[in-house]
C-alpha cells in the first residue's frame, strides 16, 4: 500500500456559474503525487491553479473526475468522514492576515485545529503549541502575541505551524511566498523543505514564481486556462520544456544575468491570457502561440507521453 500515491486526480473538471455563463476553471486535469514529494503548480493568474488546489483537498467539489486521497475517493465520503479526513490535508493561504483569527493570540490560533479535531487535553495541547513554534522558528513567547504584532514572515510561520498542528500528510501551499520580502521568501522555502523531510509531508505548491516552484518541486505541472499543458519531473521540465507556453514562460523569468551583455532582450509572449468565459475550440494557447498552425485552432491537442513521466499537450511535440 505504501507505493500507492497519496493523492491522485483523474480527469477533474470544475465550473463556476457566472450568471447564465459557465467559467470552466479546471479542465480535465489528472496527476498523481507520491508520499513525501512536492508537486509544483505554476501558471499565471486565472490559470486555475488555486481552484485545482482547493478541489484536491475537497474544499470545492468538482463537476466530474475522481480525487483519490490516501486510498479513498474524497468526494464519496460523508460530510462527517470528510471532516475527519481534513486532518490529513491542510492548506496554507497567501495572506495570513486574512486567514488567521486576529482576535485571539498566536498560540490560540495554532491550538484551534487541535480542539476541532479533539486532539489531546489542555496541557498536551499547549505543549504541542510550543513544540510547533520551535519547529517553525518562532519564539515560545510569540504564543502570547496577536497575529498583527508579527512581521509578514512570522505570520506565515504561524500559518505553517497551524497547518502542521494536526500532523497532516498533505499540505497545499497556495501562493504562500507572494506577500513576503525576497530574503524572507528564501527562509520560508528552506523551512518548508526541512519540515517536509522531518515529517515526510507531501506538498502541492501553487505559485506564479517559477524560481520557487523549481526549487521545491519534484514534479511540475504548468497550467494555462484551466488545463495542465505540460507535466514532468522538475529537471526534465526545466532543461527540456516542450510546450510553447512553458518555453516562453521560462524565458520571461528575469534572472540576474552574468554580465550587462547577457541581459534579457525582454522578448515575451504577446497579448494576455484570454477570458476563460470564451474558450476556443482548439488549443487554448493557440491565440498567443507564436508557432500556431491551422490544426491548433480547430482541434484540442491530447496529452502525449514523452517518456519518464514527461507529458505535453501540443500538436507539435517534435
Amino acid at each position: 500500500m505504501l507505493d500507492e500515491p497519496l493523492l491522485s486526480l483523474a480527469s477533474v473538471d470544475k465550473y463556476f456559474r457566472i450568471g447564465s455563463r459557465r467559467l470552466h476553471a479546471v479542465r480535465n486535469v489528472s496527476f498523481t503525487l507520491s508520499r513525501g514529494q512536492t508537486l509544483g503548480v505554476v501558471g499565471e493568474s486565472g490559470s486555475g491553479k488555486s481552484t485545482l488546489g482547493r478541489c484536491a483537498i475537497g474544499l470545492l467539489t468538482p463537476e466530474s473526475g475522481r480525487i483519490q486521497f490516501d486510498g479513498v475517493d474524497i468526494h464519496q465520503l460523508t460530510k462527517r468522514a470528510l471532516r475527519q479526513k481534513r486532518k490529513d490535508m491542510q492548506i496554507i493561504f497567501q495572506d495570513p492576515i486574512a486567514a488567521l483569527n486576529l482576535r485571539t493570540t498566536v498560540g490560540q490560533n495554532i491550538e484551534d485545529p487541535l480542539i476541532v479535531h479533539r486532539l489531546g487535553n489542555r496541557s498536551e495541547r499547549s505543549r504541542r503549541v510550543f513544540e510547533l513554534l520551535d519547529s517553525v522558528g518562532l519564539d515560545r513567547a510569540h504564543a502570547e502575541a496577536f497575529p498583527y504584532e508579527l512581521s509578514g514572515g512570522q505570520q506565515q510561520r504561524v500559518m505553517i505551524a497551524r497547518a502542521l498542528s494536526v500532523r497532516p500528510k498533505l499540505v497545499v501551499c497556495d501562493e504562500v511566498l507572494s506577500a513576503l520580502d525576497m530574503s524572507v521568501q528564501a527562509q520560508i522555502m528552506l523551512l518548508l523543505q526541512d519540515l517536509q523531510k522531518e515529517h515526510h509531508l507531501s506538498y502541492v505548491f501553487i505559485s506564479h514564481s517559477l524560481s520557487a516552484v523549481g526549487y521545491l518541486s519534484d514534479f511540475i505541472a504548468v497550467m494555462y486556462l484551466g488545463q495542465v499543458v505540460e507535466y514532468g519531473p522538475t529537471e526534465t521540465l526545466l532543461d527540456r520544456p516542450r510546450h510553447p507556453y512553458t518555453v516562453t514562460l521560462f524565458q520571461s523569468v528575469l534572472e540576474i544575468p552574468d554580465s550587462k551583455a547577457h541581459r534579457s532582450t525582454l522578448e515575451t509572449l504577446k497579448g494576455e491570457i484570454p477570458s476563460p468565459l470564451q474558450l476556443r475550440v482548439g488549443c487554448a494557447f493557440s491565440s498567443r502561440c507564436p508557432w500556431a498552425q491551422e490544426i491548433c485552432r480547430l482541434q484540442p491537442p491530447a496529452m502525449t507521453e514523452l517518456g519518464e513521466g514527461h507529458q505535453v499537450a501540443c500538436h507539435f511535440t517534435e
Partner: protein, 327 residues
C-alpha cells in the same frame, strides 16, 4: 552629462501615535539626464518614501526634518505647493504602484490621459485627444479609439498599468518615477510592460527612476542601481559592477536568497531575520543585526560611502575585506 536630480542628506519621518518612524535616514544621490536608475530594497527600506517625499506626495504625516532635493533649477523642498503642482505630472511623471488606486475609477481612461495635458495647458482639447490615442497605442493598447471610453474596471491589470504609463507620459516629462510598475503583474505581462516602458523612455531620452524589490528586474533593465536598507543607501553601482562585483553584505545576501533556475546547483542562503520598523534612528549600520560579518564598529558607527571604483560606492565598514570574507 547634466545632473537632473540631486538629493542630499534626505531624512523623512512619520509621526504616529506610537512614536516616530524613521523611514529615510540620510539619503544622498545624483541622477544624470538620460539614466535609468533602479532603487532596490525590501519593504520598509525607504525606497518609495525617499522619492515620493521629495514631491510632497506623502501627506501631512510625513515630515522632512533635514535634506535638500534639487530638480533641474528647482529646489523641491522649499517650493510652494502651487509651483510644485506645475512640476508634478508635467516635468516629473509618476507611475504609482497600486493599480487599484492609481486611476480614477469613475473617469473614462481616455479622459485620464487627457487631463494632465489640459491641466498644464499643453495643448487644445482636440489635440490632447489625438495625442492620448497615439500614446495609448504606443503603450500597447490594441484599438485605442474604442478603448478610450472605457472605465478602468473594464480592463485587465496589465492594461490598467499601460493606461497609467500613458497618464505619466502624457506631458512628456523630463523625469519619470515608476514605483514598482510590474509588481502586481504576471510574469509575461510584466516583461511586456518593462519592454514598452524602456522603449518609450529611450524614444524620449527620458530619465527614469524605478523603484523595485525585484533584483532580476533591476539587473535586466537599469543602468545603475541604488540598494536601500533601513532608510539608507547601502550600495550605489553601475549595472555591470552591480552584477559582477556586488559589494555590500546586504546585496550579497539578497542575491543568495534567490534560487536561480539557470544555476540550480548554487544553494539558497537567505539572510537571517527580517526588516524592522525604525522607531529610533539607526545608530550604526542598519543592517548590522542581520549581517553575518558585523563587527562592534558596525553597531556604533554609521558607515560612510566608500568609493570602490569610478562608478561603484558602498556603505560598509568592512568593504575592503569583503572579497576575502565572502571567500
Amino acid at each position: 552629462m547634466t545632473m537632473i536630480l540631486e538629493v542630499n542628506d534626505l531624512h523623512v519621518q512619520f509621526n504616529r501615535p506610537e512614536g516616530t518612524v524613521h523611514a529615510v535616514n540620510g539619503v544622498t544621490f545624483q541622477v544624470q539626464a538620460g539614466e535609468w536608475i533602479g532603487v532596490l530594497g525590501e519593504s520598509g527600506s525607504g525606497k518609495s518614501v525617499s522619492l515620493l517625499s521629495i514631491l510632497k506626495l506623502l501627506g501631512d504625516s510625513a515630515n522632512i526634518p533635514q535634506g535638500q532635493a534639487r530638480f533641474a533649477e528647482h529646489d523641491l523642498l522649499t517650493m510652494s505647493e502651487r509651483k510644485l503642482r506645475r512640476l508634478r505630472g508635467k516635468d516629473i511623471g509618476i507611475i504609482f504602484q497600486n493599480l487599484a488606486n492609481g486611476l480614477d475609477p469613475l473617469m473614462r481612461i481616455g479622459q485620464q490621459v487627457i487631463e494632465p495635458m489640459l491641466e498644464h495647458n499643453i495643448c487644445t482639447k482636440r489635440e490632447a485627444k489625438r495625442r492620448a490615442i497615439a500614446l495609448l497605442a504606443e503603450m500597447g493598447l490594441s484599438d485605442p479609439e474604442s478603448q478610450f471610453n472605457r472605465y478602468p474596471f473594464e480592463l485587465s491589470g496589465g492594461m490598467r498599468q499601460r493606461v497609467m504609463m500613458a497618464v505619466a507620459l502624457a506631458c512628456n516629462p523630463k523625469l519619470l518615477i515608476a514605483d514598482e510598475p510590474t509588481t502586481a503583474l504576471d510574469t509575461t505581462v510584466s516583461v511586456q510592460v518593462l519592454s514598452t516602458l524602456r522603449e518609450a523612455c529611450e524614444r524620449r531620452n527620458m530619465t527614469t527612476i524605478m523603484v523595485t524589490h525585484d533584483l532580476g528586474v533591476a539587473a535586466n533593465v537599469c543602468d545603475r542601481v541604488l540598494v536601500m536598507y533601513g532608510g539608507m543607501i547601502m550600495e550605489d553601482a553601475e549595472i555591470d559592477g552591480f552584477i559582477k562585483h556586488p559589494a555590500h553584505p546586504y546585496t550579497l545576501g539578497l542575491k543568495a536568497s534567490i534560487f536561480s533556475l539557470k544555476h540550480r546547483d548554487i544553494p539558497l542562503k537567505p539572510i537571517a531575520g527580517s526588516a524592522k520598523t525604525w522607531w529610533l534612528k539607526p545608530l550604526g549600520c542598519p543592517f548590522a543585526e542581520r549581517c553575518p560579518f558585523a563587527i562592534e564598529k558596525c553597531w556604533k558607527v554609521h558607515p560612510d560611502m566608500v568609493k570602490l571604483s569610478e562608478q561603484h560606492e558602498v556603505a560598509c565598514h568592512r568593504s575592503q575585506e569583503m572579497s576575502t570574507l565572502v571567500g
